[in-house]
């Protein structure tokens, strides 16, 4: 069973997930590339995946005829069987790796990318993600639902067919905890959401805006870790992605598509990651947390400096990155 272990000195949890290969030879063998013929995410390959959890389709489950599918990850980082438990060994704490790991396949087409799909299809994908988050929240063992995408091998994708992942966790990730703490501090002092203030300042300044519509804004943040990093934020205060109203999904799809397309065009279709940052399942963080999507193209290698310290060197001036992205012709 996978375990979650806590570093005894800093507040860092790690999933030890031995199901995924751990001997030296597992690392020295290059990963097999899946091609169209052997891709388990393609239409017609449904028997190669675990049974679907959700699909937008006309036909019966686990057969062709779908536009999107959500399936359990075949090699999950966490398991949903058993109880969390907590074991202390002297200085050390660990809990069972309770959680789930699901995959959204946004299109039956092997040769497309999320940003190339029609807006309605992207909106459907976002709605499917919301539907899964709402379902997973019912499980009281899960404290945080993380949504993220790895696109391209350098960003950690093991399959090239477009997909997004959901992981339900029994703990809240450290960075989200830090954001909550930072948001609370600002709120206690100013009685305002720091992200709302940030949006106001960015709108006033203008230099870091990539694109915007009535409901969402995409910026290059003031202190980005990575070149051409972007954040998509809802303009109206909202703590949780899953509380995003249905009427806003077209604008969200439009914003995500445009942001990704600008990055794709300006940077020659880079590998990338995105991660949804949202308030934890429990607790009331309505006032001081503001959900958003962080998009990180994979352009530079993470060097020892960054890995060892959480301290980043970014060779691109954020205002110049925003200008390049903003002025890219689509």
């Amino acid at each position: 069973m996978p375990e979650l272990r806590k570093d005894p000195i800093v507040n860092r949890w790690v999933i030890i997930s031995s199901e995924r290969g751990n001997r030296p030879k597992d690392f020295s063998t290059p990963e097999k590339k899946t091609n169209k013929e052997s891709c388990p995410f393609c239409e017609g390959s449904e028997p190669l995946t675990p049974p679907e959890i959700l699909a937008y389709r006309k036909n019966s489950p686990n057969s062709p005829g779908w536009t999107l599918r959500v399936i359990p990850n075949k090699y999950p980082a966490l398991t949903d069987e058993g109880e969390t438990g907590q074991i202390t060994e002297g200085l050390y704490d660990k809990i069972n790796g309770i959680g789930t790991h699901e995959v959204l396949i946004e299109s039956p087409d092997h040769d497309t990318e999320l940003e190339l799909l029609p807006k309605t299809q992207i909106a459907d994908s976002l709605k499917a993600l919301r539907e899964r988050v709402l379902a997973l929240k019912e499980n009281e063992r899960f404290h945080y639902i993380m949504i993220f995408k790895n696109r391209g091998e350098p960003s950690g994708a093991s399959l090239e067919h477009t997909h997004t992942q959901l992981i339900a966790l029994p703990i809240v990730p450290e960075l989200v905890s830090e954001e909550l703490a930072g948001g609370k501090k600002h709120y206690d002092k100013n009685k305002r959401c720091i992200y709302c203030d940030l949006i106001a300042q960015e709108l006033e300044d203008g230099r870091r805006i990539v694109c915007q519509n009535e409901n969402f804004i995409t910026i290059v943040p003031f202190a980005p870790r990575f070149p051409f990093e972007m954040w998509i934020l809802p303009r109206l205060h909202s703590a949780r992605f899953e509380e995003c109203e249905t009427r806003l999904f077209d604008a969200l799809a439009s914003s995500l598509k445009e942001s990704l397309l600008r990055m794709r065009t300006a940077l020659n279709a880079p590998s990338y990651n995105f991660v949804f940052h949202t308030a934890p399942v429990n607790g009331n963080h309505f006032n001081y947390y503001h959900w958003h999507i962080e998009i990180m193209p994979k352009l530079t290698k993470m060097a020892g400096f960054e890995q060892g310290t959480g301290f980043y060197i970014n060779p691109t001036v954020p205002e110049e990155a925003a200008e390049i992205l903003r002025e890219t012709r689509l």
Copy 2:
């Protein structure tokens, strides 16, 4: 001039270092490989580097005849001219990117690696690092001196000739601040150093020990972020690397060589990073901080999950990794 910018929500500083290339084309052009003929770090190429700061050599400076050299980084992430300053723009804070960036070339031989050098040569390299740290500490604008190595292209090395880097910073990196806070909390409660307690527990347990000698111990930590991650710790309490006594450098060199060689042999000479973690220049952290080296082989890709959250999935059970490293025949 490079800048240090602080994220307004979390305690994260980023170096914006535009000297190092920032336009989209800088990322799409593959890096040129340096070969032996064009390598600026080789003996005989001294005119290709900035004038040396320190060298162990028989001849006159900036000529052949050396066993190791320290030079300024030709493309520094920070500059040592000017004052830190501090500029606030609404929610945002930034300071000038004041610091230094130096490179230690541990051998004139292009075809070797640090771990393949004789123990005496490794000890000399460590002594040279200490000498530079002691010199840089004299500059009161520097609050932290970071030592790190990128070995191999996947880990961020831009030159293949063996080298280690020093960066002097006007701030303390977040992870070190967190370690200081964690150490202080434990000390306040127990009046003992948490790292000393950790060493005692690891010695008692034994499952995560990779190798040890009279003065240093190498373990796979309880909650490692990366497969086969290792920490080298001095057995006697000591807050700062630069306070390591001269009599201990043979043992430290021996420990570093053996740890790296075990990793090299077990994992087929992987790309790797190491980072020295040491107490900041200012302040007294003698009681609750314990310097150490963190070694991270580059075996898995950092996926979106990790980047977005500081939350890691490690597919290798630490006790199994330690056993493999410990039992590798050298």
